[in-house]
Amino acid sequence: MADIAVKGGQVAYEDAARRARALSGFKFRDTTFHWLTFGAAVAVLLILGGVIASLIYGSLPAIRAFGLGFLVSNVWNPATDHYGALAAVYGTVVTSFIAMIIAVPIGLGVAIFLTELCPHALRRPIGTAIELLAGIPSIIYGIWGLFVLGPFLQQYIQPALIKAFANIPVLSTLFAGPPYGIGLLTAGLILAIMVLPFVSAVARDVFDTVPPLLKEAGYGMGYTTWEVIRNIVIPYTRVGVLGGVMLGLGRALGETMAVTFVIGNADVIPTSLLAPGTTISAAIANEFTEAVGDLYTSSLIELGLILFVITFIVLAISRFMLMRLERQGG
């Protein structure tokens, strides 16, 4: 104490200088950090903008040649240099739709089981197994679909479907033969397996956000487990679940490798789900390497642009829903 008092002025001055140095150092580091992270965020936006810009630029020859007709024409004929996106868009939408019809109920079922009914010991293994499905590379799904699932459907499932629906007006067209084993339905099935983990993981997470108080109140009123899920859990998490479904849909729309193995790759609009079709990403992957000529290449890029727009819309909707859910407070 005494020492300090003796050389008080000097010490105080040095302290102040040191503190100022330290503070300006902190400030500098903070500012740098701020700009670095800001730069990273802007870079992502720039890359996204660049992708959109180059897609549009690459599509220009096709847009000039076909205009809006590109969207409604189902001619895809490299021999005459005439292109239209309808068959590919149709296949993309139909396969994703089939995938969702199958994956959403199963995914929700898995999530409900894991959060409400599953014994604690089993929770982790089952959850991990489902998440492992998401880790399988898509090429593996494709090969499995071609070698195992396709022939299995061809021999056992499809003939039965054709026979069962033969006399029912609309369904007989939907399930008209011959059973190729590969086609829209098989592609939809593979996609369903692929998006299942996304749907169930998101659903499980949002089901966990339901306040126990609400559920207990429900049970207190004499609800059965089913009624609690039906009247409390699902309504409470509706938006979040929808966001998860959209996430899965976004994935299904863009899947390439697995689909091209099992869809049959025919540039047509089949009325039967058992018939071969094509999707946007399969068409691009199949034809880009050997696309000779500007218009051909440009049409493939425009297909990519359409897929980008569709996926962007779907993902934007899902983001928006998840955001609304967060604003609700869980």
Binding site: P78, T260, F261, A266, P276, E290, V292
Partner: protein, 348 residues
């Protein structure tokens, strides 16, 4: 050895290697067609052990190969679909066939062995148009008297990916069937009126193996290596031929190369009693006035070596070497057309 001296030795060594490599070997780069990739890489390996020159070939597809050579980002481009004279002129390129392959129809029918049935062009076109629906159709039966054909439905399998194989196959169908020419035409990918598309030769082969009553088309090498059941074909001379090296070579030898500017000749439906009707050449594209003269020179050396010494390697992989008479024409073209900045021929 201290860190400093270690670095110094490393630098010296690296410099030495660089100088040595610069003096010894030229790097030839090429890009394009996937069909000749196995033979080009096999030739490149043999050539490197013999001369030290290395060739880096990327099989990115014919379309990509054409784009890259037009942009001059590679020494040579490779394409299954020959460019026409106008395109060659516009981009200042010279083109020649480098190796030949065959395309064969493959089928899957119980009790029918390889070569047991023959088809002609118009019938093949009708099958792929979806107009002939069963194997016991009168059109097929008429060509195969004495063969017991099943009533199995025909399942058409075609390539889904753009490919030179499809280009040559549809080119043949366009030549023998006006109906096909009007409705479908020929290209690396077409709007198929029937059947399912499979990715690559392996995809087509696989689908044919899995589906009773299927018919597809694959590279000859692929049919051979996978022991697929092939059909014979009736050629433009009306003779029934089997797919084998002599019949592919006959098609190449009987073609009128001398009157094809830029060697723009598609080998389908060629004249001659022994010619296999769906034979296909794959082409090389080289700038007439290369930017990198050393690399172009090395590339020409490599291709000359492949013509002179690469035959056995090609045959081992079930490709067919270009007939000698055609090679003479090609070498003359190099002398006349590929020039350095000083206006002298690059071939020595």
């Amino acid at each position: 050895m201290s860190f400093k001296s270690f670095v110094r030795t490393g630098l010296v060594a690296a410099a030495a290697i660089a100088v040595f490599a610069g003096a010894q070997a030229t790097d030839i780069s090429g890009a394009g067609a996937t069909f000749p990739y196995p033979i080009y890489s096999k030739w490149a390996a043999a050539y490197k052990t013999e001369t030290g020159d290395s060739l880096n070939y990327q099989s990115i597809g014919s379309g990509g190969g054409i784009k890259q050579i037009e942009a001059r980002t590679v020494t040579f481009g490779a394409t299954d679909k020959p460019l026409d004279s106008a395109d060659l002129e516009k981009n200042g390129l010279v083109q020649w066939p480098q190796v030949i392959g065959g395309i064969v129809p493959v089928i899957n029918l119980d009790g029918i062995a390889s070569g047991a049935i023959a088809l002609d062009g118009p019938t093949l076109a009708k099958i792929f148009l979806g107009e002939i629906k069963t194997w016991d159709d009168a059109a097929i039966a008429k060509l195969n008297p004495g063969v017991k054909l099943p009533s199995t439905a025909i399942a058409v399998v075609h390539r889904a990916d753009g490919s030179g194989t499809t280009f040559n196959f549809t080119d043949y169908l366009s030549k023998v069937s006006p109906d096909w020419k009007a409705k479908v035409g020929s290209a690396t990918a077409v709007q198929w009126p029937a059947g399912i598309g499979a990715k690559g030769n392996e995809g087509v082969a696989n689908n044919v193996i899995q589906t009773k009553g299927a018919i597809g088309y694959v590279e000859y090498a692929y049919a051979l290596q996978n022991k697929l059941t092939y059909t014979k074909l009736i050629n433009s001379a009306g003779k029934t031929v089997a797919p084998e090296t002599p019949s592919f070579q006959a098609a190449a030898a009987n073609a009128d190369w001398a009157h094809a500017p830029g060697f723009q000749l598609i080998l389908t439906n060629q004249p001659g009693d022994a010619s296999w009707p769906i034979t296909a050449a794959t082409f090389i594209l080289l700038p007439k006035q290369p930017k990198d003269e050393a690399a172009a020179k090395a590339a020409l050396k490599f291709f000359a070596w492949a013509f002179d010494k690469g035959g056995p390697a090609a045959e081992a992989l079930d490709y067919i070497p270009i007939p000698a008479a055609v090679v003479t024409l090609i070498k003359k073209t190099w002398e006349d057309e590929v020039k350095g900045a000083d206006g002298k021929a690059l071939v020595n």
